[in-house]
């Protein structure tokens, strides 16, 4: 094997931060090289240097053994490097063909003389796209409008765009972050196919399972340094996690058997509509008891969002009943649910969970700012608020320059910790007041790194052990498997089945997530 891309001794400094410190990285011909690391470890900086977005302060980049300077993305593309960004660079109202042509427009030969006014040759471009799409199994319709395509298809458009520009080296920046597990598996097949046809791929991720599924070699970065490169056969999940975090990480959450108490949340035949007036939750019934974690598994978009919003008073219930501690709370506004002891870690931390412009301090009391001692009458007691905030920042290890820093300037993991701290502290309070508290957590660790996930998982289990009823909704099967006491699988607005987490297997739950019930599977 020969190295198609080699970076040696790359150092890149930003004001006050060293993003890359003497990093070596080699991509061999025809391999999938996974680049693993927590948020802020320097993966993106390294890739942006290879893609010409940044210039390294020190170090060398070589392509096919030749030292080169990659001055701009244009330069990178000319040298056969293509990058698929985490956030797609597509123009939604244009067709797939137009998006892919953009920046490399081919024109009809007869009109070439017209210069800027030449007529676009969509037909030959579409033909090439169709050819690429067949060759690599990237199913897309060249004539489709990009804005109408699902996320997975948009990603395929991005990949074709890179291939269209004759990229031999593909950099995929967290490509699975936006995909369902099934879509991720499809992507891996595509990646295999591309490698077999001679391309080389750098695959950036922080999910350990994916690395084992697809990578030929794994490089781990931490704090701007390259920790090491190993092959999947030599690695274990624990070893990789330790390399990423710099200390031993307990991947399996240690938890005692649940001791379920009285029912806290009872949902009976719930029907909820989504924004487009589709009945996305169609007859869900479930019960969450004090001291247990009920996990709701399911591929995203099967009604979990609407279920959560209905249970927390953010969405109208079309039919059915929600009973919180024996009281009917079906059509109760959020404030009353909050006061009844219901905590909610929302799915979208930027939309619902935080006021990004507010300081961390205010975000930590977002639901309780009006209660004594945080306020006396209408007057806010900033001494008490600051004390509460400082205490939570310390307890939940929120990495922030201070409680006055705006929440928007924290990293995703720390933002999530702010939300979890706020909601779990309200659980503690509800417990202290003699309520049986309820935690509804939707995707509590989405997009977070291993260290933060471990931390938040431990806190959720602690809340359970202190007597909270926990409803955990997640599309991450691993999360559901390791935290839940019981697992309810949601499919097309229904709970397909509820299984005991101690006996359930990944395969069993995975089949249910795909809509295959046990009877059907056996029959």
């Amino acid at each position: 094997m020969t190295s198609v891309l080699q970076a040696t001794g790359i150092t890149k400094r930003f004001p006050g931060v060293i993003a890359n410190s003497r990093v070596d990285f080699t991509l061999e011909q025809g391999e999938i090289h996974a680049l693993l690391g927590e948020n802020g470890a320097g993966k993106s900086t390294l890739m942006n240097i290879l893609y010409g977005l940044y210039q390294p302060d020190e170090g060398q980049v070589a392509i096919n053994g030749q030292p080169v300077t990659i001055a701009s993305p244009h330069d990178a593309i000319a040298r056969g490097i293509g990058m698929v960004h985490q956030h797609f660079m597509l123009v939604p109202p244009l067709t797939v063909t137009e998006n892919i042509m953009l920046g490399q427009e081919s024109v009809a030969p007869l009109t070439k003389a017209l210069g800027e006014l030449a007529v676009l040759d969509r037909r030959s471009a579409a033909a090439r796209i169709r050819e690429l799409s067949q060759r690599y199994g990237l199913a897309v319709d060249p004539a489709a409008i990009v804005g109408d395509l699902p996320v997975g298809a948009q990603q395929r458009v991005e990949i074709i765009k890179a291939l269209y520009r004759q990229a031999d080296i593909l950099i995929l920046d967290e490509p699975t972050a936006v995909l369902t597990p099934q879509e991720a598996d499809e992507l891996f097949v595509i990646m295999r196919g591309m490698v077999e046809q001679g391309r080389s791929i750098v695959f950036i991720t922080h999910k350990l399972r994916e690395v084992f599924a697809v990578a030929d070699r794994i490089s781990v970065m931490r704090d701007g340094r390259m920790v090491g490169t190993i092959r999947p056969a030599e690695a274990t999940r624990e070893l990789l996690a330790e390399m990423m975090v710099g200390r031993k990480v307990i991947l399996q959450v240690d938890k005692a058997a649940a001791q379920p108490g009285a029912a806290v949340l009872e949902v009976e035949d719930l029907h909820v509509m989504d924004d487009r007036q589709h009945m996305t939750v169609a007859g869900v019934s479930l019960t969450v008891r004090a001291g247990e974690i009920l996990g709701v598994a399911g591929v995203q978009g099967n009604g979990q969002t609407e279920l959560t919003e209905a249970l927390t008073g953010l969405r109208r219930v079309a039919a059915g009943r929600v009973i919180l501690k024996g009281a009917d709370t079906t059509h109760v506004p959020p404030r009353q649910l909050v006061e009844a002891g219901a905590s909610h870690v929302p799915e979208d931390r930027h939309k619902h969970g935080l006021v990004l412009a507010f300081p961390v301090r205010d975000n930590l009391v977002l639901c309780s700012y009006y209660q004594p001692p945080l306020a006396q009458g209408v007057r806010l007691n900033y001494a008490a608020i600051a004390a509460r905030a400082a205490d939570l920042v310390r307890q939940f290890d929120v990495r922030t320059p201070g409680i006055g820093t705006s929440a928007g300037s924290l990293s995703g993991g720390n933002q999530q910790k702010v939300i979890v701290a706020r909601e779990l502290s309200r659980i503690s309070e509800a417990g202290a007041n003699g309520h049986a508290p309820l935690l509804i957590a939707n995707q509590p660790t989405r997009g977070l790194d291993v260290g933060s996930i471990e931390f938040i998982h431990r806190r959720i289990v602690e809340a359970r052990d202190q007597g909270a009823a926990v409803l955990l909704i997640s599309a991450e099967l691993d999360e559901i498997m390791s935290l839940s006491d019981r697992i309810a699988v949601m499919y097309k607005g229904h709970i397909l089945d509820t299984v005991d987490a101690r006996t359930a297997t990944r395969e069993q739950v995975g089949l249910l997530m795909a809509g295959v019930t046990t009877e059907a599977a056996h029959g």
Partner: protein, 500 residues
């Protein structure tokens, strides 16, 4: 890039950053806050100079114009106080705009609310004749506030109920207000004895006192009592605020003590913690502090009230600096400062303001946190309208020559105030400064025209440029080669999309 990160050793980079942040964070924050408006002003005046130069053909006109502006605004007789007179409605109106912005609402209808406030005040000022000033003046102000609040509350209700965008509805309400004022002045409220079309003169008790008139006003015991009560109230608030600051400092100390006890964060600790020694000490300290200071604000307030009641009338008669009877400056200027403090307190020190700002910054999160969005939209616009209404009131009660609402009561204050609020960064104290500046420009424009022959509408041009630069900070940053701020500041969006 090289000069930004000269160190290679990560430790030195980190430590030098720390030192820098400690040493200059305050100065930097203040500088950051002021630099953008200051540069916007500078740029606007420079561009204005270019326009004057080009249109007049000689550079000396620029000097004549700007020196005329400065003399008109500050130096000529009553120039300074006229600038303050013009500043007063600006303060109320731009506070109204800023309060709306903070709640995520673009109240573009302050001009209309200003008119309705003026109508209400013109009515209350003469309809309730016979009441003593201590009752009548506050009632007239209240009437103006209520009028403005209702006028802005209607679009607020429409937005909350139907999603009608407030930019459209408040602006349309402007035209209704203008016509309403014409109707009221020429119809139901017209003064039949006056030749001009105007409302009857308000009673003297409802007037906002001119500064030169204060000794005469205070000669009436009831007026002196009113002032004494107001001063007492202010003293009460100030002493309470000072005590509150001390309590915060104390509680920080106690917090440091109590920290080790609550480290586990288990809720079982909540009632067990107070048994420990240091907590008991803290409790005793607090009790002691409470006993000694609980009544202090009240005692001080009563002292201040009694003293001012006894001493102010004779003292003002002995010597009073404002003797000029043609000076129009009135006590509205003090009300404007009080209003700025009041808005600041409401927005940043109360749960009401917390909710308003939350709805403004992220309505989804506010709903999640249990905040009633509907109520806050109506409240935000109504409060904004109340401030705008007071502006109109102040013009009727304190400034208009006839002490009434005339048919031609054109102001144009309302639209300027959007620029002023932005220039003041929607901060009440920034608004005091930017209002004064706009008041001075408005006041100095006449002498500028007289002095140099340059049309006074050049001032509107400069004001428009200020707005342009403030609204597009990227332009200013580009001109002065400044770097973009690294941290997202707390800034409410000017307005959200038309979808609501």
């Amino acid at each position: 890039m090289a000069d930004l990160a000269p160190d290679t050793n990560p430790k030195t980079v980190a430590s030098s950053r720390q030192e820098r942040s400690v040493a200059s964070s305050l100065a930097a924050r203040l500088g950051n806050l002021l630099s953008m408006p200051a540069l916007a002003l500078l740029s606007a005046f420079v561009l204005g100079a270019v326009v004057i130069w080009v249109t007049s053909g000689q550079f000396v006109t620029v000097l004549e114009a700007y020196s005329g502006l400065v003399r008109g605004a500050f130096i000529k007789q009553r120039g300074f106080s006229e600038s303050l007179v013009a500043m007063v409605p600006y303060v109320f109106l731009s506070l109204a705009v800023a309060l709306g912005f903070k709640a995520g609402l673009f109240n573009i209808g302050v001009e209309g609310q200003f008119y309705v406030g003026a109508i209400s005040a013109a009515w209350a000022g003469q309809a309730l004749a016979g009441l003593p000033a201590i009752v009548h003046l506050p009632l007239a102000l209240l009437a103006g506030a209520v009028g403005g609040a209702i006028w802005a509350g209607i679009p607020g209700y429409l937005k909350a109920r139907t999603g009608a965008h407030e930019v459209i509805s408040t602006m349309m309400m402007n035209y209704v207000a203008f016509r309403l004022a014409e109707f009221v002045v020429s119809g139901p409220l017209r003064d039949r004895n006056a030749t001009a079309v105007q409302t009857p003169r308000i009673s003297r008790a409802a007037e906002l006192w001119s500064l030169w008139d204060i000794p005469n006003r205070l000669a009436e015991p009831l007026n002196a009592l009113g002032v004494a009560l107001l001063f007492g109230f202010l003293a009460w608030i100030i002493t309470r605020a000072v005590r509150g600051r001390r309590e915060i400092a104390n509680s920080k100390l106690q917090m440091a003590d109590g920290r080790s006890q609550t480290a586990n964060g288990k809720w079982q600790m909540a009632d067990g913690g107070s048994q420990t020694n240091s907590a008991q000490d803290a409790l005793r300290n607090t009790e002691y502090a409470l006993r000694t200071t609980h009544y202090a604000p009240l005692i001080i307030a009563i002292l201040v009230a009694v003293l001012s009641f006894a001493a102010l009338p004779p003292l003002t008669r002995l010597g009073w600096p404002f003797a000029d009877q043609y000076d129009r400056l009135h006590i509205g200027i003090f009300l404007a400062v009080l209003a700025a403090v009041g808005v600041w307190w409401l927005l940043w020190k109360t749960t009401i303001g917390f909710e308003l700002r939350m709805v403004g910054a992220n309505p989804n999160a506010a709903r999640y946190a249990g905040v009633n969005i509907t109520r806050n939209i109506v409240l935000g616009l109504a409060l904004s309208g109340a401030l705008a209404g007071v502006a109109g009131t102040v013009e009727v009660l304190g400034v208009s020559i006839c002490r009434c609402l005339p048919l031609f009561f054109s102001s144009g204050y309302g639209f300027d105030s959007i620029a002023i609020a932005l220039l003041g960064r929607n901060n009440p104290f920034g608004i005091l400064a930017s209002s004064f500046l706009f008041g001075a420009m408005r006041n100095g424009a006449d002498l500028m025209e007289l002095n140099s022959g340059v049309s006074k509408y050049v001032i509107s041009l400069i004001q428009a440029l200020v707005l342009l630069f403030v609204a597009a900070p990227a332009v200013v940053r580009w001109i002065y080669r400044m770097r973009a701020p690294r941290q997202a500041e707390e800034e409410a969006p000017l307005t959200r999309g038309w979808g609501g």
